[in-house]
Symmetry: C2
Subunit: 654 residues, 2 copies
């Protein structure tokens, strides 16, 4: 550190250099209504969706509007045979994945397997018309299936009361759709932002383990399995039923699991070989079905799907429940599965849009996904969204437009109409292996390591989500993680950082004294920077903290012999980072001014932003806070202007 003397002389040079002091002015006047308008626009329309409509003729506006609502009208007319070729290839590829996954995920949700196929037929068609992503492959997904199954199973048994269970599933899907599309219509899409990356990584990993554990039922061939989802009851159920383990099932499951994991490994190493892992599930289903059929294995302890009904989706609007004692359960389930599946769908859409450099409008996607679920709920489909694994395969297979979804839907339709008897001998164990392979990819260890490296608190949030899902319940784990994330933000507001600034020698830059070791404090000045909006949640803390800064400053100069000369004269508050203030914040500044006056110190404000300066002026009838000699545009100018007054005073002492 330099000696105070060198400091002072340095500032003399600086003052000589400063020719003018810049005035702080209030921002241009705007009425409360205008401000409210701007605020609402920034809150609900940050992407300004009507930008393209500006200065256009009436006809073009109508056309753009139709394009906006039905993106298919935009790309449809330009569609070509070349694009169709690519889309047929990718569509058939995802269909080969969709059929076994549809059956498996429906079982995960405790629903009849055929509902999984129904759900891969109608929703993709709807999405192709309304959706704006070119890569999203639509269908049921593991996490949403798991959550729906586990939440409904808490109150209704899918075994004893299958019809009621199915009704509740369709009703939940309906409410999920309503919820999703309202989020989009009301432009409240930012609600899904509250699921941070850390939360999602922890949640997905936990859910993947929960899902995999559930598959132990089919993989080990246990018939009496617990109905709970938690890790502890499942493990105890597995080891209390060892007498039910079937070696034939275990052997078969093990072989197919190894095969599927191996194909997955190949495709991950070489993305060009995507078809290896994409085709493997269907191949496994075919192989295992043939094996069972050939050896009559269903009589040797291997459980099979059984007879499936042929035909397309029957209507199901008469099965929706809008009254009665299960309404609360259905709404809650719809809300949770809706938000979870929305998060997956939007994230997947955004990821691939960024890769191909096009835009996906989040709120519009929510409406599309929501409508798809509303229609789905009345055509025997349960919750669907853009699935991550399926969309990745779609992308790798070279899809160009949403037509690949249509191709997939047609393939599923053909299956539903003619091929259902073929699945009669498909063993459940192979479906279990398919699910395990699909969800294992959700455990993202490198991302977890990266989070540990960057931010320990985020890692803690991740861990809470993970352990919460494993040991409490899927939805509670998620709620805990979101709660902790929000609590952290509130804590940051409640305890904002205040740092002491010092001058970087040879410049008029002022920076944190603890961060920049070369920075030196200016004698007679305590320069504090407040790094958060000042509001009710932190004004008391800031008052205490500022008082302590002043006391520490005064007591630290106690020991120095130059106390008199370097005695504190000015407390400079740098408000550059104070983006907002409320009435409590204004009181804090007024009170601080009073307290400082009693101590014979002067409060100097630096660079209050537009809103802050306006509120201070309105609150301050005597214009005390906005006096030109206590309000500056930069810390440098404040120090340069006020330093001479200290020198005059101290030379008077001498």
């Amino acid at each position: 550190m330099e000696s105070p003397k060198a400091n002072t002389s340095h500032h003399q040079v600086e003052i000589a250099m400063e020719t003018e002091v810049h005035r702080v002015v209030a921002p241009p006047h705007r009425s409360t209504l205008q401000k409210l308008q701007t605020r609402l626009k920034e809150t609900f329309f940050p992407d300004d969706p009507l930008r393209q409509f500006k200065d256009k003729s009436w006809k073009i506006k109508l056309l753009l509007g139709a394009h906006y609502i039905f993106p298919i009208l935009e790309w449809g007319p330009k569609y070509s045979l070349k694009l169709l070729k690519s889309d047929i290839v990718s569509g058939l590829t995802i269909a080969s994945l969709a059929i076994p996954q549809g059956i498996s995920y429906a079982k995960l949700a405790n629903l009849p397997p055929i509902v999984g196929l129904y759900s891969s037929f109608v929703p993709p068609l709807i999405y192709a018309v309304l959706g704006s992503s070119r890569d999203l492959a639509v269908g049921p997904v593991s996490i949403a299936s798991l959550i729906m199954g586990s939440m409904l199973r808490q109150e209704v048994s899918p075994v004893n009361d299958p019809i009621l269970f199915l009704q509740l599933a369709f009703s939940s899907t309906f409410f999920a759709g309503i919820f999703q599309s309202s989020l989009g219509f009301l432009r409240l899409g930012f609600i899904i932002d509250f699921l941070s990356k850390a939360t999602l990584i922890g949640f997905m990993a936990g859910a993947a383990i929960i899902v995999s554990l559930q598959q132990l039922k089919s993989l080990l061939g246990i018939t009496h399995f617990t109905k709970q989802m938690g890790m502890v009851p499942v493990m105890s159920s597995v080891f209390h039923n060892t007498h039910e383990w079937s070696w034939q099932t275990i052997l078969m499951g093990f072989c197919f699991l190894v095969f599927l994991l191996f194909t997955r490994h190949i495709s991950m190493r070489k993305p060009k070989l995507f078809w290896v892992s994409a085709g493997a599930p269907l191949l496994s289903v075919i192989l295992s079905t043939l094996l069972v059929f050939a050896f009559k294995a269903q009589n040797h302890g291997i459980s099979v799907i059984g007879k499936l009904q042929e035909g397309l989706n029957p209507p199901s609007w008469n099965m929706l429940h809008f009254h009665g004692s299960y309404l609360g359960l259905v709404i809650k389930t719809g809300l949770v599965t809706g938000i979870i599946s929305l998060t997956e769908g939007i994230a997947v859409g955004r990821t691939f849009a960024a890769l191909k450099n096009y835009q996906v409008d989040g709120n519009k996607e929510m409406i599309a996904i929501g409508l798809m679920n509303i229609v789905g709920s009345s055509t025997s489909c349960y919750v669907t969204t853009g699935a991550f694994s399926r969309s990745a395969v779609n992308h790798n297979a070279g899809c160009k437009t949403a037509v690949s979804n249509i191709i997939m839907a047609v393939t599923v339709m053909v299956t539903l109409l003619f091929l259902m008897p073929l699945f009669q001998y498909t063993p459940n164990v192979v479906l279990g292996a398919i699910i395990v392979t699909a969800v294992v990819g959700l455990i993202d260890v490198p991302a977890a390591c990266q989070i540990w490296k960057i931010d320990k608190f985020d890692f803690f949030v991740m861990l809470c989500a993970f352990l919460g899902v494993l040991f409490i319940s899927v939805q509670d784990g998620l709620a805990i993680a979101v709660g902790i994330s929000i609590f952290k933000i509130l804590l940051q507001i409640t305890r904002p950082k205040t740092v002491m600034l010092g001058n970087i020698p040879g410049s008029d830059i002022y920076r944190d004294l603890h961060h920049y070791k070369e920075a030196v404090s200016v004698p007679g000045f305590l320069i504090l920077s407040i790094e958060a909006p000042i509001n009710f949640a932190n004004s008391t803390y800031l008052k205490e903290r500022t008082t302590r800064w002043i006391e520490e400053y005064e007591s630290s100069s106690d020991d120095e012999n130059a106390k008199k000369k370097s005695g504190l004269k000015f407390v400079v508050l740098d408000l550059s980072a104070v983006s907002a203030i409320d009435t409590n914040g204004v009181s804090f500044i007024k009170d601080l001014r009073m307290v400082l006056e009693k101590k014979n110190l002067e409060l100097v404000l630096v660079n209050p932003l537009g809103e802050v300066i306006e509120k201070l002026q309105r609150a301050d009838d005597a214009k005390e806070l906005a006096r030109p000699d206590s309000l500056f545009l930069t810390v440098g100018e404040a120090v340069a202007s006020l330093l001479p007054t200290i020198k005059t005073q101290s030379s008077n002492y001498v």
Copy 2:
């Protein structure tokens, strides 16, 4: 605005002036544990209560510790006869107020009147030993009494089941005390900061009206009164029972109400005449009691208190309920009344401490108030705290120390032992008038106007609290207002301000272009300042918003002829106001860099703070983000260093 040419030439001058560019460095290394320690200390011990213990001998530490726990040990030995004189005057004054208020507030809480007197005897003694405020006058208060009465009455009738009701009141008081002192012990006092000034003003005004409306029962002499608290049921109850109105009661009530309001008015105009309003309630009680006694008015439609038991507080620990079906109710009531009475007590203590320039330790006060309620609950007292009106009288009467509380307690003791029969003929109507006069002062219209002037949103919060209390319920109104306040903070985080900066000519200062009209943008640079921590809740928004800024910038230069020359080259992010960042925020910056690279733009970061720079460095394996030519300490230096590269390029075009 200046022409771009003038701009450019100005910057040439500036570059000539700049002799060196300051490096951005990471802050000194500290381990995660050290950071956690600092963070925890700032969160829970912002006032550093152990400061005074530093570098002291073992004995002095012990002495200071005893002083810390029992402030009476600090001021007790210095106590003098002169101080005692002042304290006796003020103690007797507040006792004359405490006796009628105690009886009235107990009735407000649906408790026997004598409980109000008990509550003015034990708690003040406890507070005198433990409390650190010199002005706080302790006793029951209107709002807490109202809330306790209304919450308990929802489940138990005080008329049909008075013993159970009393038990629940004592148990609630016990839990309120436990809750208050744990907040203090766990240093979680900042929780009461979430009740903002606006919330409190709206809440108090609403509660004052609710309380006053309840007094219509005694003021009009109605016997069949509704048991609900809301404005609507009370008013309908009043006008459906007009046949029960008693003109004698109304006349008497009106006279005393006018008298009390008049004395209040006098004392407010001339604070020296504080004793006029302080003595008026006792005088009213004495006068009205004599009137009733003389005219045997109890037989003419005027209801009186009736016989009161003589004697000191009986023990009540055997009446505490820790089990059974009412435990939830009792804990909830304790929590709400505890936090409300704590808020009043702490606010009052801080207000008078600021006036007399001494410190009150919030967490310590919470422990004192909490212990006072725990002890109170086992000696037949209900919730007490530092009362605003009573403390103001105490302060005006010249109290010096907590001895005035002891004097008050002794006076109440004498009353309890010998004077109880005198209250037999006290009419209820006069108690109603005393309550109305006391709570009318809680309606703070000037403060509401001031809030309207400064911050419209705070006014909205105030209005929600006010209307919520009036039309829904006391606790729901409060909860709604707190919820909205927190939602506002979250919204500020979710939609942080980003502003475009421009250069203030003749300086290297950069400020908001919309705020400072003289600021001009630098051709080739888009300079954005982000004014909030970057985290999961806003990273998606910031990405969209930044992209839009860039698109707007590019489309606006479409029209200009100088497009090629002023084409965008650098996007400068001023991170001075970004006080924290999480993994989502780090991803935002990495993604933004990638997006800009695709557009052939360069991302330049300016002045990232300690935590931000550390996290960016840890996340950034290729050291792309921390390259010296894209990281600067000030916007001025960034522009000065990078402007020459643009010029070279554009002269190549020519």
